[in-house]
Symmetry: C2
Subunit: 372 residues, 2 copies
């Protein structure tokens, strides 16, 4: 993959961005750590640099909340498979913002799943509710100030927006962002724009401050949406949304965690013993030999097990730092470290899956399922 | 314009089809006159060959009605200007079918008017109601079994259909029909497909027999829609619609009648004296001199005044034939003939405009207007 290819983010592909810094400079994304001091209770994903970049977070979220303005979050899911720990990064943020008092708009990208990914409607709807919505509930989502909807089963002004957007965007412009397009992808791009911007309409509550937390691969969409907001500024009163960018979760083989390689992803519904075995086989930042590791120390930055601690398994910063230091100093070897991670993971999964069981029944109360 | 260009019908352009016969053969449209014997009360537009072609009219309409099956009509309007006598051809058919007992679905193509024709939303909505709907009412449309809707202001399952259609159509395929496309046109094509096919859905009454009366320039859409019906046959139970094709109304200059050349079109809201003057200046099938015309006779087939008789002004076939024969035989000259046509036109317009005035108030009861 060439240099320029690397920077051509593709929301439908599985591009791994090796160089976040460069992507940020190229596309005008600002470092998130600069805002940390201004945030009262930053999420650990913020403090730990998993959420590493943003656009307009300072004005649209921090200042808006200070001024007691209404703020809404929009972020969606592509229900193409089971929920894994990569998805959990976004779910944790959703719940964080709900607790901050934001109104939540959570589109389920079933139109895109059907038209672009060519999944069956039935499969998509089932995954959406029993996996995505249920896991959100199990993770703590409450049924208040939250609008979870299927892209194919929403309210009319949302569709009007999709229709209207098609006037002010050219095929050349879309192809510059996404490459060769088919009607399904064009629809998906316009629909996603409506997902992000529709809360600004009167019919949906007139939320002018919108925050969209996404993976960096979604930035092409965000840029398109910001342009569309500008183009419909005077006609519909739309304003640019803010966005944050989080790192991908590394899969257990060192690539992006993905449902398409289930042996290298840990799903929130994996039986704990199976999850534990997967983690046992994960790539670590360990050295070739125990001797070498004791002398040189391990490399937590390259370790998918450490990533599990960092993203999901260890809440206390002090405990996390202790493990980091021990690894760096060669005081702990990968076997012992993995055993501890597996223990935490099994415990977490058991607890979560107990909640998940009840959540699946509740899930159908959070969202209206399309008839066909 | 080359031969092949001539046959590449463009629903967004103003292509005049000089050779209907050839277009019919090329695209598999059957002659309508073959069905006339089987129709109990054919509309005069059918008897007079204005409606000249069809697909599946025999099975979807004639046999279906015989078997007491439900039949729906779908046909829409692009509210890009004022209603002229070219539009009236379609309006007369709508009312004919309502009287036959069909359920009517009448989309107003405001999405397309906005995204493709780049008209303002306000203008489009106003034209739609005060011109298109009001004229339909004045012509006799009753407020029963009729669904007049704006494409941007309809019910959710309709939009789901648009989203789903995007999966099974390629850009190459659309471009083969329409030429170079932009997102607005792609949306418009998929939306028009949903217009035609949605009455088959359970949510809209499950009308499997659908008749779509259109101008021949709309046939590319019809072919796409028939293909889409096939592709969604097993998944959504969609079936192919029937269609009929009518000739364009010739403008007073001999080209297709169009709002874009208002001096050569007669609008249903034109002040009678102005309409009368326009008709006075119309191109006729007359000869160079009165002498020549008395000897050779005129050519009613090439006469835009005769077309007015044929399409709109003379109901009785015998009276029409009398004028035709007199013209052919050189017994009547264009001046006299025009004077008679003008008299009928003024009378018709006065009567219509009296009804139209009341119809404008009623029109807002027939259709829900979008908020923005």
């Amino acid at each position: 993959m060439g240099r320029s290819e690397e920077l051509r983010l593709d929301p439908w592909g599985a591009t791994v961005i090796h160089d976040y810094e460069k992507a940020m400079k190229t596309f005008g994304i600002k470092p998130f750590y600069e805002l940390l001091d201004k945030i009262e209770n930053p999420h650990s994903l913020m403090k730990r640099g998993v959420i590493f970049g943003h656009r307009d977070y300072d004005t649209r979220v921090l200042e808006a909340l200070k001024k007691k303005e209404k703020v809404a979050l929009v972020t969606g899911f592509m229900p193409s498979g089971k929920v894994h720990f990569g998805h959990k990064i976004l779910m944790d943020q959703i719940i964080y913002y709900q607790r901050l008092g934001l109104e939540l708009f959570i589109p389920i990208a079933d139109a895109e799943a059907y038209a672009v990914r060519k999944l069956s409607r039935k499969e998509v709807v089932e995954y959406a509710v029993t996996e995505y919505v249920a896991n959100l509930i199990a993770l703590g989502l409450e049924n208040k100030k939250v609008h979870i909807y299927f892209q194919t089963n929403y309210e009319t002004p949302y569709y009007r927006l999709i229709q209207m957007f098609s006037r002010k965007v050219t095929l050349a412009e879309l192809e510059a962002i996404y490459g060769r397009l088919e009607p399904g992808k064009i629809m998906a791009a316009l629909t996603q724009a409506a997902d992000i911007l529709h809360p600004q309409l009167e019919a949906f509550g007139e939320y002018k401050n919108i925050i969209v937390p996404v993976g960096i691969d979604q930035d092409p969409h965000i840029r398109l949406v910001r342009d569309l907001a500008d183009r419909f500024g005077s006609e519909l009163g739309l304003e640019r949304p803010a966005s944050t960018y989080h790192r991908f979760m590394t899969g257990l083989d060192g690539n992006k965690m993905s449902s398409s390689r289930p042996e290298y992803a840990i799903f929130l519904s994996d039986p704990p013993e199976i999850a534990s075995k997967k983690l046992a086989n994960a790539i670590t930042g360990g050295r070739a030999t125990a001797k070498e590791q004791r002398e040189l120390g391990g490399i937590p930055e390259k370790c998918s097990v450490y990533e599990f601690y960092l993203y999901h398994l260890i809440k206390e910063d002090a405990s996390l730092k202790a493990i980091y230091d021990k690894c760096r100093n060669g005081e702990i070897l990968c076997g012992e470290c993995k055993a501890y991670a597996r223990e935490l993971l099994v415990k977490w999964l058991r607890d979560h899956q107990r909640k998940l069981e009840q959540a699946i029944d509740k899930a159908y109360k959070y969202v209206d399922v399309p008839e066909f």
